[in-house]
C-alpha cells in the first residue's frame, strides 16, 4: 500500500486508532490455534458506523482488501489476512456501546464490538437473559458471533445466534449503510436481508450493530454431572430428558473420559466430580421459569428414573452456583486442555441427533484403522447433534507428523459425516479452513447462488477475500 492511501485510511479513524508498527500489529496476527499465518501493515479501529462506511468506500474505490476482526476467537482462520500483507484489518472493539435496552419488547441494541459477556451482563442487570453462551465469551464480540452464526451451549433451548437476531445495521462494501435495526418480532416486508449477513463471516459487509432478543431469567437452575457407559446411553438420556423437561432442558453436553483426564490434569481448579471413572459423561442443566424447587424436583425425578432404567450410572448434582460453575468450567476448558497433549486434529461436525451413537462407532473405527494409538476426544453439544470430533496425537508421537495425518483422517471422518447426512462445519464456519472442501461437497446450485450474491454485494471483491467461497 502506498503511503498516500495509508494516510487516507488513518485520517478516517485518527492516528491514535490506527496500528502501523509490526509490534502493535502482531497481536492481531496471532490466532487461537496457531494454525494460520498472515501479514498486514495496517490495523484500523473505527469508533462508529460512519467511520466504517468511509473506510469501506475508500477500500472499494482503491480495491484494498478488508479483513474484519471481532474478538479473533474464530477457529477457521476467518479473521486472518493472507500473506501478501495487502489487507487492512478492521478491528471492531471500539464500537462497544449498548445503544438501547427495551424491557417491554425484551430486546437489546448493541454495537458489534461489544464483548459477548458484557451483553450477557447488561441483560442480567435488567433481570433478563441473553442466552448465547460459549467458552470464548470473555473475548469474542457480538459482531463476530453473528458473523459466524455461533451456536454454543444455549443453542439447545434458545437456538443459535441467527435465531436471536431481530435487526442489523450493516455497512456494505461500497460504504452504503443498511439500516435494518428492526426490533419487531413480526415483519414480513420483503426479503429478510439480515440473514445473509449472519454467518457470512465478514464476506458481504461489516455488521456494526444488532438488535438481539432477551429472555426472562430462569428462576431456578440446576446442573448435574453424570457418568454413563456409552453415547447410546447418552442419547437415551437426552430423549428422556427432553420428553420429561421440555423447554426446561437447557443444556446437554457429552464428554469422554479422556477429556475429563485432560482437564483435571492440565486446567487449574478442575477436579473430577465423580469418585470413580466412567467411559462417558453428560453435563445436564435444567432451568425453571417457576422456582428453584421446581428445577430441583424435575432434575431429581428425571435422574432417579434414569438411574433405575440404567442409562445413568452415577452422578453429582451441584448444590450451589460455585459447584455448577465447577462443572461448566470442566466442560468449557476441554478445548484448551488438549493443547498440552500435543497435536490435535479437530472437526466441528453435526449429524442428525439419532445418528450420533452409530456415527461415533464408525468414526472411531475409521480413525483407529489409520492410527491405532490416536486418542479420540469427541465432546460437545449432543442435544444439537453437534460434536467437536477431536483427535489427539499418540503419546510421544511427533506433533507435526501427526498433524500431517489430517490429510487422511479428516476425509475419513468427514466422509462418514456426509454418509449420515451431516455437516462438516456445524458451528465454526468455513473461513479458509474448509473453503475448498465446501466447494467440493455443497449443492452446486447453492454454491452458484452464493457466488452471485457475493459478486453483487461486493463487486470489487474487497470483503474478507478468499474466505468462505
Amino acid at each position: 500500500m502506498n503511503d498516500d492511501l495509508r494516510e487516507k485510511f488513518i485520517a478516517i479513524v485518527g492516528t491514535k486508532n490506527a496500528r502501523v508498527n509490526q509490534e502493535d500489529i502482531a497481536p492481531y496476527l496471532r490466532e487461537w490455534r496457531d494454525r494460520w499465518e498472515g501479514k498486514s501493515e495496517l490495523v484500523l479501529l473505527p469508533a462508529n458506523t460512519q467511520e466504517v462506511s468511509q473506510i469501506l468506500a475508500l477500500a472499494t474505490e482503491t480495491k484494498t482488501p478488508i479483513v474484519p476482526q471481532g474478538g479473533h476467537t474464530g477457529l477457521v482462520g476467518g479473521g486472518m489476512p493472507d500473506m501478501s500483507g495487502d489487507a487492512v484489518i478492521l478491528a471492531m472493539g471500539r464500537m462497544n456501546k449498548v445503544r438501547d435496552i427495551d424491557t417491554a419488547g425484551n430486546t437489546i441494541t448493541v454495537e458489534a464490538g461489544c464483548i459477548l459477556q458484557s451483553v450477557q451482563e447488561a441483560a442480567d442487570d435488567v433481570g433478563r437473559l441473553f442466552p448465547l453462551s460459549l467458552a470464548a465469551e470473555g473475548s469474542c464480540q457480538i459482531g463476530g458471533n453473528l458473523s459466524s452464526n455461533a451456536g454454543g451451549t444455549g443453542a439447545l433451548s434458545y437456538g443459535v445466534a441467527r435465531d436471536l437476531v431481530l435487526g442489523l445495521e450493516v455497512v456494505l462494501p461500497t460504504g452504503e449503510i443498511l439500516n435494518d435495526l428492526n426490533a419487531l418480532k413480526k415483519d414480513n416486508t420483503g426479503y429478510n436481508l439480515r440473514h445473509l449477513f449472519i454467518g457470512a463471516e465478514g464476506t458481504l459487509g461489516i455488521i456494526t450493530a444488532a438488535v438481539v432478543k432477551l429472555f426472562p431469567k430462569p428462576k431456578g437452575q440446576i446442573t448435574a454431572f453424570l457418568g454413563l457407559e456409552t453415547p447410546a446411553a447418552a442419547l437415551e438420556l437426552f430423549q428422556a430428558a427432553r420428553d420429561f423437561a421440555g423447554q426446561s432442558l437447557t443444556a446437554f453436553e457429552l464428554m469422554p473420559r479422556l477429556g475429563v483426564e485432560f482437564t483435571t490434569k492440565h486446567v487449574d481448579g478442575v477436579r473430577d466430580p465423580l469418585t470413580t471413572p466412567y467411559p462417558w459423561y453428560v453435563l445436564l442443566e435444567v432451568s425453571s421459569g417457576e422456582s428453584e424447587d421446581h428445577a430441583q424436583s424435575l432434575l431429581e425425578h428425571l435422574l432417579e428414573n434414569q438411574m433405575e432404567a440404567g442409562s445413568v450410572l452415577d452422578g453429582a448434582v451441584a448444590s450451589s452456583v460455585s459447584q455448577s460453575k465447577d462443572f461448566w468450567h470442566l466442560r468449557e476448558s476441554m478445548s484448551e486442555s488438549q493443547k498440552p497433549e500435543g497435536g490435535s486434529i479437530k472437526h466441528d461436525i453435526s449429524v442428525p441427533v439419532h445418528a450420533i451413537p452409530s456415527f461415533m462407532l464408525d468414526a472411531e473405527k475409521a480413525v483407529l484403522d489409520i492410527e491405532p494409538s490416536a486418542r479420540i476426544c469427541a465432546f460437545g453439544h449432543l442435544g444439537d447433534g453437534n460434536l467437536h470430533y477431536n483427535i489427539s496425537q499418540p503419546v510421544g508421537a511427533d506433533k507435526q507428523e501427526f498433524l500431517a495425518m489430517d490429510r487422511v483422517i479428516t476425509p475419513a471422518v468427514h466422509g462418514l459425516v456426509l454418509k449420515y447426512n451431516g455437516s462438516i462445519s456445524a458451528e465454526h464456519g468455513i473461513g479458509v479452513m474448509k473453503r475448498d472442501e465446501m466447494a467440493k461437497i455443497k449443492d452446486p446450485t447453492a454454491l452458484d447462488l452464493m457466488r452471485r450474491i457475493k459478486k453483487n454485494f461486493d463487486p470489487a471483491g474487497i470483503m474478507n477475500p478468499q474466505k468462505v467461497l
Partner: protein
C-alpha cells in the same frame, strides 16, 4: 464420638446482592440460596473424620425457615447421618442461635461441634465462640487443620500473622476456615439415600430461647460503586493528579 454440625441457608455466594428498595435489608425473594460455604467445609470435615473411623455419627442442625430443609438434605447427601431443623421464620441473631445450639448439644451430647467460622450473609463470626462460652467448652477457631487424639484436639489456626498451633481439650468447639478442605459434591445415589435419612423438626420454643432481636437495623446500603477510571496522558499529569486530586502524595 458424635459430631454436631450446624449449617445455615444463605444467599448463594455467586448471587449479586441487591438491597431492598426500602433499604430495610437484602432482597431475598427469588434469590438462589445455598449452604453457607464454611458450613460445607464443616460437613466435609465431619465426614472425613467419620471415614477415618474417629466419628460414629454426624448430626446436622439448622435454625431457619422450612426451606432450610433443603440445606439439611444437602448435608445428608454429602454424608451426614441425621438432621434437625429448628424452625424459625424471622431473623435470629448469633447469641440466640448459640443458645438454641446449646440446647441441642445438651440433648445430643456430641463430643465435638464443628461450625463455619462465619456465615457469608451477616459475616458475624460469633456463633461458635458464644456457644463455647455458654457450654464452658474449649474452642479452636479458624481451623485449617484438625487432628484429634484421645481427649485432645490439635488445631492449626489461621491468624492474621500466619498460623497458630494450639491444643485443646475435648469436648470442644471448632470453627472452620477456607483452607481446611475442599467439600465433595453430593452424588446422585447419596441424594436418593438422603431422602430416607431422618430429619426431625423442632421449634425454638422446645429450647426455651428468646429470639427477639437485640439489634435494630437502621438502614442497609450498597457499598459505594467504583468510580470510572481515567487514562492520564503523561507521568506529569499522573503525579499532579495524585498530589492535587487524590491527595496521596
Amino acid at each position: 464420638m458424635k459430631v454436631l454440625v450446624p449449617v445455615k441457608r444463605v444467599v448463594d455466594y455467586n448471587v449479586k446482592i441487591r438491597v431492598k428498595s426500602d433499604d430495610s435489608g437484602v432482597e431475598l425473594a427469588n434469590v438462589k440460596m445455598s449452604m453457607n460455604p464454611f458450613d460445607e467445609i464443616s460437613v466435609e470435615q465431619a465426614i472425613r473424620m467419620k471415614e477415618a473411623g474417629q466419628v460414629e455419627e454426624i448430626v446436622v442442625v439448622s435454625v431457619g425457615p422450612q426451606q432450610s430443609q433443603e440445606t439439611l438434605r444437602t448435608a445428608l447427601a454429602m454424608g451426614a447421618d441425621r438432621a434437625i431443623l429448628v424452625k424459625h421464620d424471622d431473623v435470629v441473631e448469633p447469641l440466640a442461635v448459640a443458645k438454641i445450639l446449646k440446647g441441642v448439644v445438651e440433648e445430643e451430647n456430641p463430643g465435638l461441634v464443628i461450625l463455619g467460622k462465619q456465615a457469608i450473609d451477616d459475616d458475624s463470626n460469633q456463633t461458635g465462640q458464644m456457644l463455647a462460652a455458654l457450654l464452658g467448652w474449649s474452642q479452636g477457631t479458624f481451623a485449617s487443620e484438625i487432628e484429634i487424639s484421645g481427649d485432645t484436639a490439635k488445631v492449626k489456626r489461621e491468624v492474621d500473622g500466619g498460623l497458630q498451633n494450639i491444643e485443646i481439650k475435648m469436648p470442644a468447639i471448632i470453627t472452620t476456615d477456607l483452607r481446611l478442605n475442599e467439600p465433595r459434591y453430593a452424588s446422585l445415589p447419596n441424594i436418593m439415600k438422603a431422602k430416607k435419612k431422618p430429619l426431625d423438626e423442632k421449634s425454638v420454643g422446645d429450647y426455651g430461647v428468646d429470639t427477639a432481636p437485640r439489634l435494630t437495623v437502621v438502614k442497609t446500603e450498597e457499598p459505594e460503586g467504583r468510580k470510572a477510571g481515567v487514562i492520564v496522558g503523561s507521568v506529569e499529569e499522573l503525579v499532579s493528579k495524585l498530589k492535587n486530586e487524590a491527595g496521596v502524595l
